[in-house]
Symmetry: D3
Subunit: 132 residues, 6 copies
Amino acid sequence: MYITRRERFSAAHKLENTHLNTKENKQLFDKCNNLHGHNYELFVTVTGAIKPNSGFIIDLKDLKKIIQEKIIDKLDHNYINEVDFMKNKITTTENLCVQIWGELKEPIKLLGAKLYKIKITETENNSFEYYG
Amino acid sequence: MYITRRERFSAAHKLENTHLNTKENKQLFDKCNNLHGHNYELFVTVTGAIKPNSGFIIDLKDLKKIIQEKIIDKLDHNYINEVDFMKNKITTTENLCVQIWGELKEPIKLLGAKLYKIKITETENNSFEYYG
Amino acid sequence: MYITRRERFSAAHKLENTHLNTKENKQLFDKCNNLHGHNYELFVTVTGAIKPNSGFIIDLKDLKKIIQEKIIDKLDHNYINEVDFMKNKITTTENLCVQIWGELKEPIKLLGAKLYKIKITETENNSFEYYG
Amino acid sequence: MYITRRERFSAAHKLENTHLNTKENKQLFDKCNNLHGHNYELFVTVTGAIKPNSGFIIDLKDLKKIIQEKIIDKLDHNYINEVDFMKNKITTTENLCVQIWGELKEPIKLLGAKLYKIKITETENNSFEYYG
Amino acid sequence: MYITRRERFSAAHKLENTHLNTKENKQLFDKCNNLHGHNYELFVTVTGAIKPNSGFIIDLKDLKKIIQEKIIDKLDHNYINEVDFMKNKITTTENLCVQIWGELKEPIKLLGAKLYKIKITETENNSFEYYG
Amino acid sequence: MYITRRERFSAAHKLENTHLNTKENKQLFDKCNNLHGHNYELFVTVTGAIKPNSGFIIDLKDLKKIIQEKIIDKLDHNYINEVDFMKNKITTTENLCVQIWGELKEPIKLLGAKLYKIKITETENNSFEYYG
């Protein structure tokens, strides 16, 4: 049994490999090297057994609170390139997935469930899934 | 090869563990302990081989008919807490998934395919998946 | 210039004209006479001039707060037939639109804008618009 | 008869009134004063008579081309605060609507139709409409 | 007060002006001159007063039945160029709107309401509205 | 890590087993045996390691280009029954998935990634997934 919570954040970013020069970055990332932004959708999937007392895997209010504090409060209405867990990373959605996994894995374990998947949609055409 | 049919139902429910008292239910389920309702989306995924004669895994008209009779006719425009296969269950979406799996598994086998997944979205932010 | 804020609420209701008997209600409202529920989407459209200081018609945080307090806190995760501004009304979405208009008109005027439209979608197939 | 073309752009922006100081901007715009971004959806509605020869109001390929050249090429994957037609404007979606109207009105007239509405959705909850 | 019912149909069509030759049609309609198809969404908006007895403008079951019989049964899973009310018309969505208006205007009047708008979305990017 | 690119095509088709006669086809495929069409959504999922230089699994511009050339240019605004890779196949969405897999597998390998899944949604209610 899997449960998925969707949260959203609106953020700016710019793809840039700091080990490359301006021209190389332009060539590698094209218009994604410009400052721009997205309405990201984050889908956090957790798994676990149904608790007989509540009929829940996990209380969605608890899951929502953790995602809010650990991820949304940092990313929403901010510049991703300067968010603590993305510093010195290229801010691709691939890397966002990996870093968000790292931020959420332990707190979700403390709630008695297991993080299963991080999915992020960047636009209606592009989405990314990471299973740890 | 997997095929997924979406059906929808609009229903009322109220989360309540009948072994707990009013105050305990309020504490455990908060506002979900109030009578309220949702437009649920049910996604039934089946798997099987493609039949050479038809190019189908399963005739979607047959799948649709089974879901309608076994599930939608009972849940749509009704109060989930009183639907036969949900009686004496806490009406969380987790439990709904499990019970719907039980109702559909055999009828789908009779159509020559295999039930693979039950997915229910309760709101645009919360969804649940069950693999039996 | 018009600005529209969407908010959502999940609620139960039952169509019933208290001046009719059980059989007449059943005949008039069919399965909508059963207790059931929806994920409603409420779209509040206001109009006004753009303030040179802010570039806003209205601060969306203020609009959101009013809709939350006057409407969502009362309807979300509740039984519409017992919500104060719907008492003694048939709880059709038409009547919901009219009553929500009445609740929001003055508070929006106090924010320096003008309520223009209340739109409610009840399901993905049915929507309602009211212009006062 | 009205025809609406949707186009999309992903851009960064920051709400800022350059006549106010840092503290005043923070107070007025709150977290919208931070650098952030959105996936904007732009809906351009034009009106006109149906041409008997084609059954069209306007050839959508021509409309698409104009919106692309005049608007999307400038805004997509860019920082709105530095786009030519938004310079020295507060980059609210209200002002974006007004400026896009100004950019598209004449080119659409040259195609033999009339611009009727500019609608922009900034997030799934906030949308804006301008009728010139 | 306005109520909108959405219905869907999946159909094939081909844009062709029978007074033009093959080359002229190709030049005018480009790839839309090829046989292709769409999942159309039809939004029928009607207006009227709220009936005190039911709280309805119109019974949605009646509206749905009329749209089904007059429009969907003819267009769904068919070739639009050969549907009776589209014969000898160029099958643009503009013309579809006009013809559907003609088919629905009187039947809706017989239900005690007034047809207000026909909207058709052809793809997620292109939509058309007709007010008679 | 998985990345999914969505592309769309609008096409006509007709379910027909050329080894059966007209009556048998009608009985087997019912109204799907009529010429009709859809707005198909194609989701191509690829997997691979994140390249340290770019933070990408694969450059989405390259993936988009391959899907466009190999699939969309052939299917969009065309009659599926006559598209080269669907000739002599029953044009069910199941078979479309299998054939598209065959067309994309090698070109994606040449980009340094691995095709993982082909998903096609035919209508908002019916979708199909193929894992090779």
